[in-house]
């Protein structure tokens, strides 16, 4: 490979130098609302471009653990046309869920039903495990 022609640093810097305007000042926080607390509590938000039957939800501080389980249970809903989840970037603690439903229900309702169904599932798993644990203890004694 032929050696690269070295360009004086100053010359390139001059050519590529672009004057930059100051960043616009940060919008002043509105005095009536205490945003800090509100934002901390609110871990779900609907991403722009949503309609009633199709929406993407952004979850803060969630990952594959809830993402995949929720995706599964929402896909079990016959009113849901599509459900998928993604983690847009590994170094951001964000998880997105996309839900598209058929007419007659909404994406928000489908997500809510997903939460309820997953809670029911947890109850069943917990009950059955404890039941079996009692059986197992009896078996061990016998």
């Amino acid at each position: 490979m032929p050696p690269k022609k070295r360009v004086p640093a100053a010359a390139t810097a001059q050519e590529e130098d672009v004057s930059m305007a100051d960043a616009s000042p940060a919008p002043a926080a509105s005095p009536e609302l205490d945003y800090d607390i509100e934002i901390d509590d609110q871990r779900i938000r609907i991403l722009p471009g949503a309609s009633d039957t199709a929406a993407s939800f952004e979850f803060k501080k969630e990952d594959h653990t809830l993402g995949n389980a929720l995706r599964y249970i929402i896909m079990k809903n016959p009113d849901v046309e599509f459900c998928g989840y993604s983690i847009p970037h590994p170094s951001e603690e964000l998880m997105n869920i996309r839900i598209q439903t058929y007419e007659g229900t909404t994406a928000v309702d489908a997500l809510e039903k997903g939460f309820s169904d997953l809670m029911d599932l947890c109850d069943v798993v917990s009950e059955k495990f404890q039941e079996e644990r009692l059986n197992f203890i009896d078996q061990m004694k016998a």
């Binding site: 509590d41 609110q42 871990r43 779900i44 938000r45 609907i46 979850f59 969630e62 990952d63 594959h64 653990t65 809830l66 995949n68 389980a69 995706r71 599964y72 249970i73 896909m75 079990k76 809903n77 016959p78 928000v108 997500l111 809510e112 939460f115 309820s116 169904d117 997953l118 809670m119 029911d120 599932l121 947890c122 109850d123 069943v124 798993v125 917990s126 059955k128 495990f129 404890q130 039941e131 079996e132 644990r133 059986n135 197992f136 203890i137």
Partner: protein, 370 residues
């Protein structure tokens, strides 16, 4: 129209993940509405309850093994991930080095101390101790969220040792610093929970932390707090939490005589058994046993013990005679605790945490829509 109900053989077939010599087949679940025309695959709590079962094989404080049967990988994996990364446990977070003249650098020593697992009163660890960032009235009650530990040790010559002794353990006092040398300093109400048998102490007392020579000493104070595995692996309450799918082995055509013995050797002990072909089997036309009465045949004894090495698929003589697979909805869990939790409680806690997540986020969702 009533939903179409597929036959049991069809349902069993759908559950199997195929395993070939170099490839796998039918990996993804298909139990979603709309996948099979006319079938009702929608979520139903009662249907799930009927199909779901748990089987426990081993339940000891430090280790348990059990099967969850009839659950999807997405949920089983959530439980596994929660056990590893989201169940809180106590570990050393801060080390204050007053003096360290050992050859181990302060930061390396601190990292080693952080990884030492501790145990103590279950009630104290799980109920009394709270998160370090607990706010409000508990903020000043340090005994709620911080555990003070000390390690003060100095190496000296053992005057009583024989002259010319070369074993450092005999020639010196405290040549080795072990986890058991860490002392718990109770503070405030911690005395009510962590005393006598229930004192906070290392799970494994013989972890070697450092080696010293005469004149060297270590004097550190440590603060242990509660954390979760997603923050740092030292907070993970499990040594391992893993699952595997139940293997299946189907012998499609008889494997007889010497072949049967070779077939059994392709698997771990106890997976394949050898039985004698009976008169009745030999008499049955088309069974493949005709004229083989009295010979050995290979039968599947315990597929669960199989490691799915696929060795049997490498030999020509078994080609077309055996099919390997795994049951997609049968998860054999193995949970090994590091001491703060009982291993079965770890699983139940993971279920609780998943449910808790749903509860909180459901509220958050209602909040947002409102």
């Amino acid at each position: 129209m009533a939903p179409y109900q597929p036959s049991q053989t069809e349902l069993d077939r759908r559950k199997i993940v195929g395993i070939n010599a170099e490839t796998v087949t039918d990996v993804s679940s298909t139990d979603y509405p709309g996948h099979y025309p006319g079938e009702d695959q929608s979520w139903d709590k009662y249907k799930f309850e009927d199909n779901f079962s748990v089987k426990i094989y081993k339940n000891e404080p430090m280790e348990s093994s059990f099967s969850l049967i009839g659950i999807d990988a997405a949920v089983a994996n959530a439980f596994r991930r929660i056990m590893i990364a989201e169940i809180p446990s106590l570990a050393i977070e801060t080390v204050f080095v007053n003096n360290n003249t050992s050859i181990i650098q302060d930061e390396v020593l601190s990292a080693r101390l952080g990884l030492v697992p501790f145990k103590g009163s279950k009630q104290g660890l799980l109920e009394f101790l709270k998160w370090n960032d607990s706010e409000g009235e508990e903020r000043n009650d340090v005994d709620h969220n911080t555990v003070l530990l000390e390690l003060k040790i100095k190496c000296t010559r053992n005057e009583a040792a024989a002259k010319g002794e070369t074993d450092p353990l005999k020639a010196y006092h405290n040549a080795h610093v072990y986890a058991k040398d860490i002392v718990f300093k109770p503070y405030g109400r911690q005395r009510n929970y962590f005393s006598g048998e229930d004192v906070i102490r290392p799970t494994n007392p013989d972890i070697l932390i450092a080696k010293l020579r005469p004149g060297q000493e270590i004097d550190v104070e440590m603060h242990a707090i509660k954390g979760v595995g997603s923050d740092h692996a030292k907070y993970s309450p499990v040594a391992t939490a893993s699952y595997r799918l139940l293997p299946t082995i189907s012998i499609l055509k008889p494997i007889l005589g010497k072949d049967a013995e070779k077939f059994a050797r392709c698997f771990p002990k106890g997976v394949i058994g050898l039985e004698t072909v009976t008169k009745k089997e030999a008499a049955k036309k088309g069974s493949g046993y005709e004229g083989h009465e009295g010979e050995k045949k290979a039968v599947v004894k315990d597929a669960m013990k199989d490691t799915v090495s696929r060795e049997c698929l490498r030999h020509e003589e078994f080609e077309g005679k055996v099919k390997l697979g795994r049951v997609r909805d049968h998860f054999i869990f193995s949970v090994e605790s590091v001491g703060q939790w009982d291993s079965d409680e770890l699983f139940l806690e993971s279920v609780k945490i998943l449910k808790g997540k749903c509860e909180v986020l459901k509220k958050s969702l209602t909040n947002m829509v409102r």
